[in-house]
């Protein structure tokens, strides 16, 4: 595991435009912190922006494959299927735990009702799982995966209003601890599905749109 991490860090320098991507992650995170901590709302905007950099982290790890050195390496398959998740999994769990802790604190403070906070945590977990599955599919089915993710985000935003706590009541039985447990199960399900999908789609050709993007950025 440690060896893989070291190799991954060495590989990251072959990613085109890594500094720009790092700066953009900070900008997107700043927007996420603004929505989640300063303007906590009911429309999942905070979770959405805090979790967006997950795909950027995956992108940084995956794009190292564009270099000729990696293409000729024996680690090629490993670098497309396992290496990206060495960063993505801890990153996702830390960000998701941050959201969960913040929502628990808001429920304890009395800013929001417990049912609303629990519902928000479950919705965030579904969003995280969808985001993880999306990043494993996006390089192979670009347009379909982006449209599906946008549809899921809009559906979650519309179902997650303050007056509708169906998921918390039905799935978690109105208990906050059950809601947190369920949300972590959903996130782990997302992680496992994403890794399985990466292996299953390894031999599939890259999406045409991604191919054009590669042509623009990897000179």
């Amino acid at each position: 595991m440690m060896n893989d991490t070291k190799k991954m860090l060495k590989m990251a320098k072959y990613t085109p435009g890594i500094k720009t991507q790092f700066c953009m992650v900070l900008v997107i995170w700043a927007v996420g912190f603004l929505y989640e901590f300063l303007l906590p709302d009911e429309f999942l905007l905070g979770s959405m922006y805090l979790l967006m950099p997950v795909s950027v982290v995956y992108h940084v790890a995956y794009m190292a494959n564009t270099s000729a050195l990696m293409q000729s390496s024996t680690l090629k398959k490993h670098s497309q299927t396992v290496f990206p998740y060495i960063f993505v999994v801890p990153f996702t769990l830390v960000v998701f735990s941050l959201i969960v802790l913040h929502r628990i604190a808001l429920a304890k403070n009395g800013t929001f009702e417990t049912s609303f906070s629990g519902n928000y945590i479950i919705l965030s977990a579904i969003l995280t799982a969808a985001d993880l599955i999306f990043i494993s599919l996006t390089y192979k089915y670009m347009l379909t995966s982006i449209i599906s993710l946008v549809a899921i985000i809009i559906a979650l935003m519309l179902t997650g209003t303050r007056h509708s706590t169906v998921l918390f009541d039905k799935l978690a039985g109105g208990s906050m601890s059950h809601a947190i447990g369920l949300s972590y199960v959903l996130v782990i399900f997302g992680i496992i599905t994403a890794i399985v999908m990466s292996f299953a789609l390894y031999r599939k050709d890259l999406s045409k749109t991604i191919y054009k993007q590669l042509g623009r950025i990897s000179k």
Binding site: M24, T138, I146, Q213
Partner: protein, 219 residues
């Protein structure tokens, strides 16, 4: 005309043009038919904001990266007519976007006027202001987003920029001018018209300047 369409289609896929000029206006009109009795004049803002999001989403598959500092114009650099072709492509895209906003807002305007609850003259002023205002907001956002090539940063950053600009236009036109009536309805119309004209010129110039830049040797 044939040359214009041919040039435009080298940049913009048919599916996107069909979706934005035909499918989206029809879908938005049908949604507003169901909502207009409930939300009244707000359906105009609803239509324009939806179109704003759809257009920023679609532009990734058409002109993405055309203002990026590393963008290479490929075969276009070998043509003697490239300068003119690029200008035609840029202007046609701007005109298409204006038509697209008009096609989505005007039917909704007629729908709102047919309810007889609102002042018709003010609704016409509001619709025209929204068409030009949202067009200007869209072009302004694309001036920034056409520099971003990576898909995940494009979509996450774009979502924030488009939301901020769309809210600003909706606040100025819908809230200050129509609802509170602090501002004369002609003021947002002339401001949005003025900004639209200048920002269109600026976009075409920016694309041409980037084309000239592509001939420069890297430092």
């Amino acid at each position: 005309m044939k040359k214009i369409l041919k040039t435009y289609r080298t940049f913009c896929p048919d599916l996107l043009t069909l979706a934005t000029l035909l499918v989206c206006p029809v879908v938005i009109f049908l949604m507003n038919m169901a909502l207009v009795s409930e939300i009244g004049y707000l359906s105009l803002i609803f239509a324009s904001v939806w179109m704003l999001y759809i257009d920023y989403f679609g532009d990734y598959f058409a002109y993405n990266g055309v203002l990026a500092k590393d963008y290479e114009y490929g075969m276009l650099r070998c043509s003697l007519q490239a300068k003119d072709l690029l200008k035609i492509g840029a202007v046609t895209d701007q005109v298409r976007r204006l038509i697209q906003f008009t096609l989505s807002i005007v039917p909704t305007m007629l729908l709102v006027m047919s309810t007889g609850k609102e002042n018709n003259l003010r609704i016409i002023f509001m619709s025209l202001s929204l068409i030009f205002g949202m067009y200007a907001a869209n072009t302004a956002s694309l001036l920034l987003l056409r520099k971003v090539i990576t898909y995940n940063i494009y979509f996450s950053l774009g979502c924030f920029i488009v939301t901020v600009l769309g809210c600003a236009v909706a606040f100025l036109v819908g809230f200050l001018s129509y609802y509170l009536r602090i501002i004369n309805p002609a003021v947002p119309l002339f401001v949005s018209l003025f900004i639209s004209l200048h920002i269109t010129r600026f976009m075409v110039k920016a694309m041409q300047n980037n084309y000239y830049r592509s001939f420069k040797e890297a430092d």
